[in-house]
Amino acid sequence: MQGKLPDGITLIQADNYETWLVDVKVIDPNPIYQNETYRLKFTFSGQYPIEPPEVTFVRDATHPIPYHPHIYSNGIICLDLLDRQGWSPVHNVESVCVSLQSMLTSNTKKERPEGDDNFVRYNTQRPRDINFMFHDDTV
């Protein structure tokens, strides 16, 4: 699946077909994401690639959660591509990473989504079970 990865995307761990870790950097000089590396966690279901993988940002000592109006501070990403309706089996880890990279690149607002605090505090669902409303077509 992986030949040569695009710039700014590094495969960290792909030992099995359940969980992969990928590091993503924003290459273009966007001041919000300068000098930071974000770690993405892919969790594949048995139905992949028919079903979308579960993709979240993970936080650790060296990898923060990027600021973006569609990324909650617990790492959950609101992106139609990762939802069942928006997913297409032709996507793969690389294309998802590139999409997220460009989503970050084009962002100009250093903020969290509306209601981030409440969502982060009260959400117990897995990302795939959350019904996102996809309202913003600019990203």
Binding site: M1, P49, I50, E51, R84, S88, P89, V90, N92
Partner: protein, 514 residues
């Protein structure tokens, strides 16, 4: 096409999605039905059926598969391709070369099955192309791919799906189905024994059920009968084998050690390779070469020296660490002594006259007001840089501190003497005072005695005179009143004379108290 090798396959249990259409009776049902009992006599253990066979015979589904040779057709997605297939021939969904490809109106190609899977979650009227999301009508829009694409796919070179079991067949993909289903001797088929559900390679079919445990006579490992031959030929560590290089006969166990240490045909490098000898030949030649090679003779010495260097480096490391710790301690001490100049500890310049720099002086000249000259004296040598080294500086500092301490000690003894003198003077003065007071008290006591005695004398005189007149009075109080009466009764004196007498009687009482 198939190259049968005598190696039996390992137990290949594919998670079989057995398709009934793929069954292929090689023998007539009559033959198979007649065979099992006889085969068990041949292949099985002499007395009892194997425990495995017994266990299997109890399972309810064993009846279902009787005497049918069921083969699993190869899955194209799991096939191993000899060369990496052209990325244009790869399905974007399964990332394998197309299997039964179809074409959508947007000219995107997918495997037929992949597309079905991808469309399964989408509702009936809303199928879209997975790549470009073009709306698709299944009946109208899904078309077969051009012939040329199909033939390109057919000509991809693949290995047999049983290659892990030992088949080394390699050919065009279009033939793999026929090969596996008809010709391949390694295709797993169901065991001919009716109550055994395990699989066996087709070439071993005629041997009957080989699914019972035996133990290898050489290494005593227990394994299935069908794996025994391969085990003995390729795995068992206690069997004789021959070195592939030098034809020496030895146990497989020792083969690796033989090759790396002894085998005369094994290609090794000269011992001097570490220091530059390029000679690399079979071991026998290298041994000859090493007798003449200068580098090979030098190599042990080099190794020894290298080891010594490493030992010394390892020893140096803790020493360096210790030095670091000591330096840290030193700088700590320096910065403690010169808090203001802690960043320049080796060059302390403390001006005692500088009002901003009073802290160090207050540190070790307490109290500052009492020894101003002393504090200045100790500070002035320190204010004269530069010193040769930090150690030298510290030593001078230490000396000056010691001097100062002795000076302070002297001053303290002096002070103590002065204080003692003062206390002594004060106490003598107090003593003299006390003596004077004592003498005064004594004289007063003398006067009192005199007064008392005179008074008593008076009373006895008056009592002697009045006893003749009043005889019945015996009580002391009565006696007391008698005194006043007698005093007042005395002839001559007026009322003014009465008062001193009374006072006198009072003072007698006080005197007794004293």
């Amino acid at each position: 096409m198939s190259a049968p090798s005598p190696i039996p396959p390992p137990n290949d249990r594919r998670n079989s999605r057995a398709s009934s259409s793929a069954s292929l009776p090689l023998q007539t049902p009559d033959d198979v039905a007649a065979e099992p009992g006889e085969l068990r006599m041949v292949g099985g253990p002499p007395n009892s059926p194997s425990p495995l066979a017994l266990r299997v015979s109890n399972s309810p589904s064993s009846k279902r598969r009787r005497s049918r040779i069921v083969k699993v057709p190869p899955e194209f997605q799991a096939l191993e391709y000899v060369s990496t297939p052209d990325s244009n021939l790869v399905c974007l969904i399964c990332h394998a070369p197309f299997d039964k490809p179809v074409q959508l109106p947007c000219e995107h190609y997918f495997c037929h099955d992949c597309l079905e899977h991808a469309w399964a979650p989408q509702s009936a009227g809303r199928k879209t192309c997975p790549t470009c999301r073009l709306k698709i009508e299944i009946d109208r829009d899904v078309k077969p791919v051009p012939k040329i694409v199909e033939s390109m796919l057919d000509e991809l070179v693949v290995r047999c799906s049983n290659s892990k079991a030992g088949c080394d067949w390699v050919d065009h993909r279009v033939n793999v189905h026929d090969h596996v289903m008809l010709y391949c001797e390694y295709t797993p088929v169901e065991c001919p024994v009716s109550d055994c559900r395990l699989h066996i390679a087709q070439k071993d079919y005629h041997k009957g059920c080989l699914h019972y445990t035996v133990s290898c006579e050489d290494c005593h490992a227990s394994l299935m009968r069908k794996d025994l031959e391969e085990h003995q030929r390729g795995i068992c560590a206690n069997r004789l084998t021959s070195c592939t290089l030098c034809d020496a006969e030895l146990l497989r166990l020792d083969l690796r050690a033989h090759v790396s240490n002894d085998c005369p045909r094994h290609v090794i490098s000269c011992q001097g390779a570490t220091i530059g000898c390029k000679y690399r030949q079979e071991r026998s030649d290298v041994l000859l070469h090493e007798t003449t090679c200068a580098m090979a003779t030098m190599a042990p010495h080099f190794r020894e020296q290298q080891a010594r260097i490493e030992r010394n480096e390892a020893r140096m490391e803790p020493l360096a660490r210790k030095v670091g710790i000591l330096e840290d301690g030193l700088s700590n001490i320096t910065s403690m002594l010169y808090p203001a100049n802690s960043n320049d500890a080796s060059f302390p310049v403390t001006d005692p006259l500088d009002p901003n720099d009073t802290e160090p002086t207050t540190d070790f000249s307490l109290p500052p007001a009492s020894f101003p000259p002393v504090a200045q004296g100790t500070e002035s040598p320190q204010a004269q840089p530069p010193f040769d080294s930090q150690v030298h500086h510290l030593l001078t500092l230490h000396d000056s501190l010691r001097e100062e301490v002795s000076r302070i000690t002297n001053a303290m003894t002096e002070l103590e003497g002065r204080a003692n003198m003062m206390v002594f003077n004060e106490s003598t003065r107090a003593k003299e005072d006390m003596l004077r007071t004592n003498t005064a008290i004594n004289s007063m006591r003398m006067q009192l005695h005199w007064l008392m005695s005179s008074h008593l004398h008076n009373r006895t005189n008056s009592a002697g005179s009045s006893s003749a007149r009043t005889t019945g009075n015996t009580s002391a109080t009565a006696g007391g009143s008698n005194v006043t009466q007698s005093a007042s009764a005395r002839p001559g004196p007026s009322g003014a004379l009465q008062m001193p007498f009374r006072r006198l009687s009072d003072s007698t009482r006080q005197d007794t108290k004293l």
